[in-house]
């Protein structure tokens, strides 16, 4: 197995779990746990190599042009974190299987959790800094989604968490980019070896601050600690894994990873030690204030992470080794404790220690779990936590080894503060155990008292539920006796995160030493604090500051959104002047600059103007004048269509057959759809004042003149461009196409075309979205229609009869023409765009000859056609990679040569993937045309929910809607919910003159 395979398998678990979830439901947790255990077990095969001091390196190119690759590297440090991620992940997954109720929707939960496992594994394995950043952000995103899915109140905390951790991510990005620029490599391990760190103190200092910033936000260090308690709205397994064992450790990992280059950098050490110790102390203090056990746990995590950060700041090999072993110990006891919190909440429906009462008798196993976890956290022998805490103290004392930076005074100050925080740890451990399992309430004089629950009302959870929580707690108890098991791994890890070759060794009892004395003091004073807990509760202030960190962040979040709205307000209007002024001034500026600077423009190429052009200009001027002065909407639309036809004719005159055909077809479709839409609008345009007309005319002439001068001066003054010559000479040899225009679209610049397809599709979906979420106005009936009553004109079926007969005969030929144009695109005028528009013309004609809009309502899902077209384009593009070393996305590949079709060269018709791509274009364009025709041409069918909301907002009674029926599958183009009432339309806006609807009243 390779690291790539490991990473791929963790990713593969995500779809696998999603598939399994269909059958297993919440029991998917067992499946995921099994998967992660197997992966963890497989990773153990690297353990001997890693302990021997070797690393496993792998490389796969990703973005070779900027030297970014999927570089993976497994060393001691990576191994420690990988083990935690996989094995703790397995435990939490197993725990989740019983934590959630059967009815609860959990599929997304497992997907995000497993994606998180993938992201975290990728992060600790990444040896490419860009890759590291990508995985880092990915863990942030997973955390956001996992918090966000936890109920009504989750979005606020989720967004605050995201804001803080994303800010840190930006810090990491800045640091990483600067490192890449300075060291000229994206490889993390190479960059860390570079001599620039030693040479440029400013660079090193700034990067140190940025890395520390990123790590502090992720690991909830002061002053960014507040997101972690906030994030506790997430369910217990998420908290246990992300916010205790794994994600918050990502920051610690980053600090350890970069620690070698920052050895002896004062700003790094000061930042880490100061912030770490502050965090450790305030975390412990806040934990002693709280009554919610989950919140106590959250602050305890903050406090423990503070220990870790401070000890990494000390930076001696002893300290780094201590940090590493404490990471392991903390992951074990804290994951177990968080799962225990979930157990208690699950069984008793409360987390408040004032209500929790006497569970010792009814929940004995939970009691054992809690006691084991808390003893370990408090650092009491012989548990594993004692070993790690001893090492932490040793690490603090080891600061003296570096007399240049730490004198004895400073060393002892740091150590005493550390001891103080450890005392706090001891005290809140007591608070948890006694608060939950005895009648102790933890409420001081100023706290509200709550009614405690009846002592025998809770039941113990089943074995399958508590086993995952018991395992790490038990491991913590056993490992305390055999801590030397970790000697090899932590030696490798310490050597990876320091520049020394220090070999730490661990033991439960190593004789009398200063740190043991300190431990004795901690336990002694701690016991006294627990015994005097009631007095202590009254002493600890409940409110330290008048404001809260969460409030501040919330203010910032609201402020930034309000600021964004204010910026948007500048253009939140329909008044043209506001929108047009800025681009107008800009264009005038360009024009003036152009006139002043353009200089010599050269001579016109002979033949730039032909006689026919003047005819076209005359026609164009007539149509444009008509469009501009027309007061009738219909006339203006038709005249604009005429202008479009003239432009199309001009394209033909310029030799652009394909463009001309496209223009004519689009013009027809535009006019058809515009006319369909005009039914919903008043007949005449709005009147504007005479002076405004004059001003508009002046501006129009000025800008027209400017455009003329620019086009006159800057075009047609050089020969043919080299690109044009190349295409005209080389197209056939390169891709075997005769129609260079089509070939550019589907062969040479297919990626551009693909982007355009996407734009087309998005426009189609935007139309659907607008019409699904807002009301279109209802059709207006022209006053003239009264005159027609009694004549054949009044009968829609009769007066379309002749047209319909013609259409019935023509229809097959139009479709055939469309297919022919599509197939021959490579050789003659045609191609995906044109043929799709021809088929669009078929649908438009079908529309025009229909007696009513409902008769031609499309009964298939045209949105899927757009998606299908874009998907075909995207998938066919992959085939381009088949072309060996030359392969690239969307490169045309020959499938079959010499097909006997009427088009092509003497060598016959060659089928390439470009034609399949053209089919993708065809479908996307058809889909967009159908959206326009069907949604704009049909009377609006209102989604029932929207209808009700709208009626309520207008003060109408929703009982007007008699019946709402689900027409599933019957009308997929529409929103399936339709309201059936007495021909209901939105009431006309009150107080508006009913000019256009007068005939109805």
């Amino acid at each position: 197995m390779t690291l790539m395979v490991l990473l791929f398998l963790t990713l593969l678990l995500v779809p696998a779990a999603a598939a399994v979830h269909k059958f297993l439901g919440r029991d998917t947790g067992w499946f995921a746990a099994a998967g992660l255990t197997v992966l963890g077990g497989l990773s153990l095969i690297w353990l001997p190599e890693v302990i021997a001091g070797q690393t496993i390196d792998e490389y796969l190119p990703w973005i070779p042009t900027v030297d970014v690759g999927i570089r993976l590297r497994l060393d001691g440090l990576g191994m420690v974190f990988l083990m935690l991620v996989l094995f703790i992940g397995a435990l939490v997954m197993a725990y989740s299987a019983r934590y959630f109720s059967v009815k609860k929707k959990t599929s997304d939960y497992y997907i995000w959790m497993l994606l998180f496992v993938f992201a975290m594994s990728g992060m600790v394995l990444a040896d490419d800094m860009i890759l590291l950043f990508v995985f880092w952000e990915f863990t942030t995103l997973c955390s956001f989604f996992l918090i966000n899915r936890s109920g009504d109140r989750a979005p606020g905390p989720a967004q605050r968490t995201l804001l803080i951790t994303m800010a840190g991510g930006l810090g990491l990005l800045t640091a990483v980019l600067w490192i890449i620029v300075r060291t000229e490599t994206t490889s993390l391990s190479e960059a860390l070896q570079h001599q620039v760190w030693a040479e440029d103190a400013v660079f090193t200092g700034v990067v140190a601050v940025l890395i520390a910033f990123a790590a502090f936000t992720k690991s909830a260090q002061f002053p960014f600690h507040l997101w972690l308690p906030d994030a506790m709205v997430a369910p217990a397994p998420v908290s246990a894994y992300l916010h205790a064992a794994a994600m918050v450790k990502a920051g610690i990992y980053l600090l350890l990873r970069f620690s070698p280059v920052f050895e002896g950098v004062p700003v790094w050490q000061t930042l880490l030690i100061v912030c770490g110790l502050i965090t450790a102390l305030i975390g412990a203090l806040f934990a002693l204030q709280r009554h919610d056990i989950k919140e106590i746990m959250a602050y305890s995590t903050v406090s423990q992470l503070g220990f870790l950060v401070a000890i990494i700041g000390i930076g001696t090999p002893t300290a780094i080794a201590a940090a590493t072993i404490h990471v392991i110990a903390h992951a074990l006891f804290k994951s177990s404790l968080f799962m225990m919190v979930g157990l208690i909440e699950h069984q008793t429906h409360t987390r408040d220690i004032r209500e929790l009462n006497g569970l010792r008798g009814t929940m004995p196993v939970s009691f054992i779990i809690t006691v084991l976890g808390c003893l370990s956290m408090a650092g009491i022998p012989p548990l594993f936590g004692f070993v790690s805490k001893e090492n932490l103290l040793k690490g603090f004392l080891s600061a003296a080894e570096d007399p240049a930076l730490f004198g004895p005074g400073l060393t002892w100050t740091i150590t005493v503060l550390g001891v103080l925080a450890a005392l706090g740890t001891f005290a809140y451990c007591g608070r948890i155990v006694l608060g939950v399992f005895t009648s102790y309430t933890g409420a001081g004089r100023r706290d509200d008292a709550k009614e405690p629950m009846a002592p025998m009302s809770a039941r113990e959870a089943p074995l399958a539920f508590y086993a995952p929580a018991l395992l790490p707690a038990a491991a913590g108890a056993v490992l305390g006796f055999v801590p030397f098991l970790f000697d090899g791994l932590i030696t490798a890890s310490t050597q990876a995160s320091t520049t020394s070759d220090y070999e730490p060794y661990f033991y439960l009892y190593g004789g009398l030493s200063t740190d043991l004395m300190l431990s004795v003091i901690i336990i002694g004073v701690g016991l006294a604090a627990v015994l005097g807990r009631t007095r202590l509760d009254s002493l600890i202030p409940r409110k330290v500051l008048p404001w809260t960190g969460v409030g501040v962040v919330e203010q910032m979040r609201i402020g930034s959104i309000a600021f964004g709205r204010r910026v948007g307000d500048i253009t939140r209007t329909d008044v043209h002047a506001v929108h047009l002024t800025a681009p107008g001034i800009f264009l005038v500026g360009i024009f003036v600059a152009g006139v002043l600077n353009v200089g010599e423009v050269g001579e016109f190429t002979a033949g730039h103007t032909r006689m026919t052009d003047w005819v076209l200009i005359g026609l164009l001027a007539l149509f444009l004048l008509g469009t501009v002065i027309s007061q009738s909407r219909t006339a203006a639309v038709v005249l604009a269509g005429g202008a479009g036809f003239v432009v199309g004719a001009w394209y033909f005159a310029l030799g652009a057959v394909d463009v001309g055909m496209t223009q004519l077809l689009v013009e027809i479709l535009t006019v058809v759809v515009l006319v369909l839409v005009l039914r919903k609008l008043p007949r005449k345009f709005h009147q504007v004042s005479r002076s405004r007309t004059a001003v508009s005319a002046v501006f129009a002439v000025a800008f027209g003149l400017a455009a003329f001068v620019a086009a006159y001066a800057l075009t047609n003054r050089r020969g043919q461009s080299p690109a044009a010559q190349w295409y005209l000479e080389e197209t056939y040899e390169t891709v075997g196409a005769l129609n260079t225009v089509n070939s550019i679209l589907v062969d040479f610049r297919a990626l551009d075309t693909f982007g355009e397809l996407t734009v087309l599709g998005v426009a189609g979906f935007a139309i659907l979205a607008v019409l699904n979420s807002a009301f279109s106005t209802s059709d207006s009936h022209p006053a003239e229609s009264k005159v027609w009553i009694g004549t054949p004109l009044d009968n829609a079926a009769d007066n379309t009869q002749a047209m319909r007969s013609v259409f019935n005969w023509m229809a097959p030929f139009i479709v055939l023409l469309s297919v022919v144009l599509l197939l021959r695109g490579h050789y003659d005028s045609g191609g995906g765009f044109i043929s799709a528009l021809v088929l669009g013309g078929f649908f438009a004609l079908r529309y025009l000859v229909a007696p009513s809009d409902s008769a031609v309502k499309l009964r298939f899902d045209y949105a899927l056609i757009i998606v299908g077209g874009i998907a075909i384009g995207a998938v066919v593009g992959l085939a381009g990679f088949l072309d060996g070393a030359e392969g690239s996305y969307l490169r045309p590949i020959v499938i079959w040569e010499g097909l006997p079709l009427p088009w092509g060269t003497e060598a016959g018709f060659t089928l390439t993937t470009a034609l399949i791509f053209d089919v993708g274009i065809y479908l996307a364009v058809i889909g967009a045309v159908l959206v326009a025709l069907d949604r704009l041409g049909q009377a609006q069918r209102y989604p029932a929910e929207l209808l009700k909301a709208h009626m309520k907002s207008q003060g109408q009674r929703t009982s007007q809607i008699e019946r709402i029926e689900m027409h599933a599958g019957e009308d997929p183009g529409d929103v399936p919910l339709e309201a059936e009432g007495e021909g209901w339309h939105p009431e006309p806006y009150a107080g508006r003159p009913k000019t256009s609807r007068g005939d109805e009243s």
Binding site: Y99, S150, D574, T609, V637, G655, S696, G704, A711, L738
Partner: protein
């Protein structure tokens, strides 16, 4: 030169239509502006060469530049879809396509809807009040339990009626 005149004419018409009331006229102006841009692209490829740019169709050295043709071809189709989108905006929300009726302007109507969304900043709703205030009220108990229990009803339908009811009652107070 002729194409420069056409570009000028189309631009003038487009600018004039942009400055009128009503979405339909603006849409027509947009169509004219895209014609002008397309012709300008052709001019950039030099209109002295007007042969059909197919291999073996035009005389050597007479073929037009295929690159602007390809650009314009896709530009036309995209302009079509954008036109359709703009025309959709013209017929939604209000009763005609007037862009200068301030009372009924979509910007106004939708802006008012946005203002309603301010209630999402309510510290009670976002949990900012509950978390981290210190002391007895500090329990950010998740309102939704992930398991069966006392509050089972609210657990099954976390967002349905409870939220809107709360929202409306607050509105009434206001």
């Amino acid at each position: 030169m002729s194409i420069a005149i056409a570009v000028g004419l189309l631009t003038a018409a487009a600018v004039y239509l942009f400055m009128q009331r009503g979405m339909v006229r603006i849409v027509l102006g947009f169509i004219m502006a895209s014609h002008a841009a397309n012709l300008l692209l052709f001019a950039a490829g030099n209109t002295a060469f007007r042969g059909v740019p197919y291999i073996g169709t035009s005389d050597y050295g007479d073929g037009g530049d295929p690159l602007p043709q390809a650009f314009v071809l896709t530009a036309i189709v995209i302009a079509f879809s954008i036109t359709m989108f703009m025309i959709t905006l013209a017929i939604t929300t209000t009763h005609d396509d007037d862009t200068e009726n301030d009372e009924e302007s979509p910007a106004k109507v939708l802006g008012a809807a946005d203002a309603d969304a301010d209630s999402m900043f309510d510290p009670l709703v976002t949990g900012a009040m509950a978390a981290g205030t210190g002391g007895a009220h500090a329990s950010p108990l998740s309102p939704v339990h992930d398991f069966e229990g006392r509050d089972d009803d609210s657990a099954e339908a976390p967002n349905a009626d409870e939220g809107t009811g709360e929202h409306q009652s607050r509105k009434d107070v206001r």
